[in-house]
């Protein structure tokens, strides 16, 4: 009879074999992108908090616009990627798309939570309240609950196939929810301001350095998002690999036990 410790030896060997500084979720591309991100984000911080002027009506608090709006766009992007990847998974049924959907959804959850936090703080000096059951805010809170539901569904013990199907169906609901969030300010009377950039008459309500700072914030945010999504995807891939390795070892243990107990020779286990 062998002990579980003996069976875990291959993992320990693997650990020893890969105990090197390069054993990370990074690659040459992500390292280059990460290095590029430092000056890009530094310039964003300068423009957002120092370089751009204060607003005539909102004053200095307008600087939260350069944090709030890009994070909302990243949240939308993450949710759309998750929904599209889930749709493709339902069609192709390959692990890659399932992991993309899960990674994007987790980042989307963080971004929507950040949106709600910075939005509430932005609301206090501009509206006089941190929170109100306004259409835009309520729809965003519903999106947050949906994302948390998605993450909860993925944690329910199930086979990869069942987990993928359940979570893909939940992810498809992100799209109608985002449409409601985005259009809520036009469909209902809302305390939240109308769109600043993406207006139907293609005439943004912001100009000059403030306009540039906002557009630059989108670009910097999307670059950061791409870098983070690649890393998060690789972590999900590595997690699946480690889980599969653990499962292989457990199966090997059971086989050894079965052998010891006489299963393979036709005898009954003791």
């Amino acid at each position: 009879m062998t002990t579980p410790t003996e069976h875990r030896a291959p993992v320990q060997d693997a650990t020893a074999a890969t105990d090197e500084p390069t054993a990370t979720s990074g690659s040459r591309t992500t390292r280059v992108l990460g290095i590029i991100l430092f000056p890009v984000l530094a310039l964003w911080a300068y423009l957002a908090f120092v370089g751009s002027p204060a607003d005539v009506n909102q004053g200095e608090v307008v600087r939260l616009l350069y944090v709030h709006v890009p994070i909302v766009v990243l949240a939308y992007t993450a949710c759309f990627i998750s929904a599209i990847a889930s749709g493709v998974w339902l069609w192709k049924r390959t692990q890659w798309w399932d992991l993309v959907a899960a990674s994007a959804a987790e980042i989307g959850t963080v971004m929507v939570a950040a949106t709600l936090v910075v939005g509430s703080i932005y609301g206090r000096p501009t509206w006089g309240v941190y929170w109100t059951w306004d259409a835009r805010l309520t729809a965003t809170a519903m999106l947050m609950l949906l994302l948390l539901g998605y993450l909860a569904v993925r944690r329910i013990p199930a086979s990869t196939e069942v987990r993928g199907r359940r979570s893909a169906i939940v992810a498809l609901l992100f799209v109608p929810n985002i449409i409601v969030v985005n259009q809520s300010v036009t469909w209902w009377r809302s305390l939240h301001q109308d769109p600043t950039l993406f207006r139907l008459n293609l005439s943004p309500e912001i100009e000059g350095l403030m306009f540039f700072t906002l557009v630059y914030s989108f670009a910097a945010g999307l670059l950061f998002f791409a870098w983070l999504l690649v890393h998060r995807f690789r972590v999900a891939y590595l997690q699946d690999q480690v889980d599969a390795l653990g499962l292989d070892l457990a199966l090997e243990e059971r086989r050894e036990e079965g052998w010891d107990d006489g299963w393979t020779t036709g005898g009954a286990p003791s």
Binding site: S25, A48, V67, H68, V117, P125
Partner: protein
């Protein structure tokens, strides 16, 4: 004299309003950026922990 007083009062009002707004800017941006930075650090740390449990051939795309 009244013009000077009016100008001073406008400037003081501007300073007063902006000084009450900066805490909101600091709190909003600070909380969110620290939160996202923490999440990013957790993702990178998890990646490092998992990568070390696997052989190089089991972690494609990473080098």
């Amino acid at each position: 004299m009244s013009i000077v007083l009016a100008t001073v009062s406008v400037v003081l009002a501007q300073i007063g309003s902006s000084s009450t707004q900066w805490p909101y800017v600091g709190a909003g941006a600070g909380l969110v950026l620290v939160g996202i930075a923490l999440y990013t650090a957790l993702v990178l740390r998890k990646g490092r922990q998992l990568a070390r449990q696997l052989k190089p051939e089991d972690r494609r795309w990473m080098s």
